[in-house]
Amino acid sequence: MSAGPPPTNRPNGLRWNAWNLLLLVPLLMLVTPLFNRDEPRLFGVPFFYWFQFLFVPLGVICVGLVYLKTRAEPVRTDKPDRLALDDLDAGEQDGGPGR
């Protein structure tokens, strides 16, 4: 366990793009009161089920858009990528070159 160089003096290497926010949209699926009901049915399938099935194409569209829109973007390294798992990124956002 030797001491490394202090990480605060490095660029953080995080890249931010506003399109990434689209990745949060499918999380709406976790809000169960939105869809926990029987009616209206579609082809006999209760709302609870068909509504959640709709999120499959929705998720594909969101992720697909992020893929297409971030392919050839000029890179900015001065903002943290807030879409880390659960917004848990509390990282070194200060100091370092590239800002």
């Binding site: 490394g4 953080n12 995080l14 169960t32 609870f48 499959v56 998720g59 992720v63 880390a84 798992l85």
Partner: protein
């Protein structure tokens, strides 16, 4: 061994023979310079393109056990079992960005396992050891569960004996699997996955269009399910979620999604891909399997309408609920198609079992054997060790199913899911920040692991006659912190893994704050920020398979 279903057995055996030939031939498929290197044996040469990766990862994540357990859960509990759909839909948006960083940093440094990465990121063999052990322990019961899926098929075809003879077909299937995995490494499941997934798609699509027409339409199927659940006194089942299990539904879906790519076998498929674009395209295309899984879940309700009675396991004397969907197929389909469907599930067990055993073998070799037992092992010796380890892992899983009650594997898998989630801060959050202190991560892991285990231990399941490990949900009122119960009287249920992860994070943050104040050294980071964005064609990538 009465009532052998010969038509089914013949169709099943022919398809099984086909994948066996493919498994052995896979050694020469897209061959590299040598198979005596983990990059080649364990990661297929790190050159799989979009299609191969789609079949491989799809075949890996959507396992045979999933295919039998999810409909069985719907059959027994109703709406709660449908958590599998939100789980596999939110999965891809959540992991999209972190997986790209993981691929890049692993490709630059030649990491084969998540523990390799942690070793490089924190320079700590202790933390890497914890990640490796967690991965191995969580994966082992998962492999055993694939056997449960395979056995559900064999039992329905008539191989329902007790004792060693009853397990002979299972044993034979696994010996064959072990041999070609030993020889071909990751290429074998990659090639077989094409067959497995094609069969599965055909079977499920046939089932969801053919069966409702036969059973009087979707409306009748759902009404039948509703009638069944309304007739039971239990508040936990129902065609919709109840008052107390909505939080459980959401946290189970979220917790499972966060956990999935922490499993070493899931990451193996990602690290084997050629570049970042392959991963991105797959994150868009993999939800096709989620659609399939959602439809498959509904087969549980069809089993209710047709009055399916799960087969009694003669080895344990209890009804095996995992045979719900296989019995449904047998009742409703002609024999030849049933054999086809059973082959889909059976081969569906082989692909993930192979990848999981390879992933566990990689962890053993890289993070325990090379780290502690033989520090100067050459790449060729590593590959040899991993091949042997994959055999040990698979036969361990078979022994587990044959000699121990399969229920024990199911319990262990439940615990494994909670355990693997505890590596999230060290493996996933660290991809973004090194703010957490090494010892904070270790302390958090210990806290999350211990509390998660205690909570699971204390969950009874009266319906199954169990006092401990009866499920993965706990009532908020039961949460107690050294006797302090913050949610007294709240009967809402929550997923244990999620609570344990929160405890893990709180401890990790507190310990980190203290250690940062005292200026304790935080390990050596061998990665650099630009490593996390490297892509195919980059000059800094580590050459594949060099000694």
């Amino acid at each position: 061994m009465t009532n052998l279903q010969w038509t089914e057995i013949v169709v099943f055996s022919l398809l099984f023979l086909l994948v066996t030939v493919m498994g052995f031939a896979a050694a020469r498929w897209k061959a590299g310079a040598t198979l005596d290197h983990l990059d080649e044996w364990g990661l297929g040469g790190r050159k799989f393109g979009s299609w191969i990766t789609w079949f491989l990862v799809g075949g890996d994540l959507y396992t045979a056990y999933t295919f039998v357990a999810v409909p069985a859960l719907m059959f027994g509990a109703g709406a709660m079992g449908f958590f599998a759909l939100p789980y596999t839909v939110i999965l891809y948006p959540i992991v999209f960005l972190p997986l790209l960083r993981m691929w890049s940093v692993s490709r630059v440094h030649g990491y084969v396992t998540p523990a390799d990465y942690v070793r490089g990121r924190y320079g700590s063999s202790a933390l890497a050891f914890l990640v490796a052990i967690t991965g191995i322990v969580a994966t082992m019961p998962y492999i055993a569960l694939q056997l449960v899926g395979l056995e559900a098929v064999l039992r329905t075809m008539g191989f329902n004996g007790s004792g060693l003879l009853g397990h002979a077909p299972l044993f034979l299937a696994f010996v064959i699997l072990a041999l070609y995995t030993y020889q071909s490494g990751l290429r074998a499941p990659a090639l077989i996955a094409f067959v497995k997934d094609t069969l599965i798609y055909i079977v499920i699509l046939a089932a969801v269009f053919y069966l409702p027409a036969k059973l009087g339409g979707w409306g009748a199927i759902f009404d039948g399910a509703r009638a069944k659940f309304d007739a039971t006194p239990s508040p936990a089942d129902g065609m919709l979620l109840g008052e107390h299990n909505q939080l459980q539904y959401a946290t189970l879906a979220l917790g499972s999604a966060l956990a999935l790519f922490l499993y070493p076998h899931a990451l193996t498929g990602i690290l084997a891909s050629k570049g970042r674009n392959v991963i991105k395209r797959n994150m868009v295309a993999l939800p096709a399997y989620s659609l399939l899984l959602g439809m498959l879940a509904l087969l549980g309700y069809m089993a209710i309408s047709t009055g399916v009675k799960p087969i009694v396991n003669q080895a344990t004397g209890r009804p095996d609920s995992n045979t719900t969907v296989t019995v449904l197929f047998e009742q409703q389909f002609p024999d030849w198609f049933t054999g086809f469907a059973f082959a889909a599930i059976g081969i569906g067990a082989l692909v993930p079992a192979a990848i999981m055993s390879i992933a566990a073998a990689n962890l053993w070799t890289r993070n325990i054997y090379k780290e502690y037992l033989r520090k100067d092992a050459t790449p060729a010796q590593e590959a040899k060790q991993a091949k042997l380890a994959s055999l040990v892992v698979k036969f361990g899983a078979v022994a587990f199913i044959v000699f121990v009650d399969p229920q024990f594997s199911i319990d262990l898998q439940l615990i494994g899911g909670v355990m693997i989630l505890q590596t999230l801060p060290a493996v996933a959050i660290s991809l973004y920040t090194r703010w957490f202190h090494l010892w904070g991560l270790i302390a958090g892991w210990v806290a999350g692991m211990a509390w998660g285990f205690v909570m699971l231990y204390e969950i009874p399941n009266p319906a199954a006659g169990k006092e401990h490990f009866g499920g993965s949900a706990i009532k908020l009122e039961q949460l107690s912190l050294l006797g302090w119960t913050p949610f007294e009287g709240v009967r809402t249920q929550i997923y244990v893994g999620f609570v344990a992860l929160l405890a893990n994070l709180v401890v990790a943050v507190l310990v980190t704050l203290v250690l940062r104040r005292t200026g304790t050294a935080n390990g050596l980071d061998r990665t650099s920020p630009s490593d996390y964005h490297a892509d195919e064609g980059d000059a800094r990538l580590k050459p594949v398979g060099v000694h």
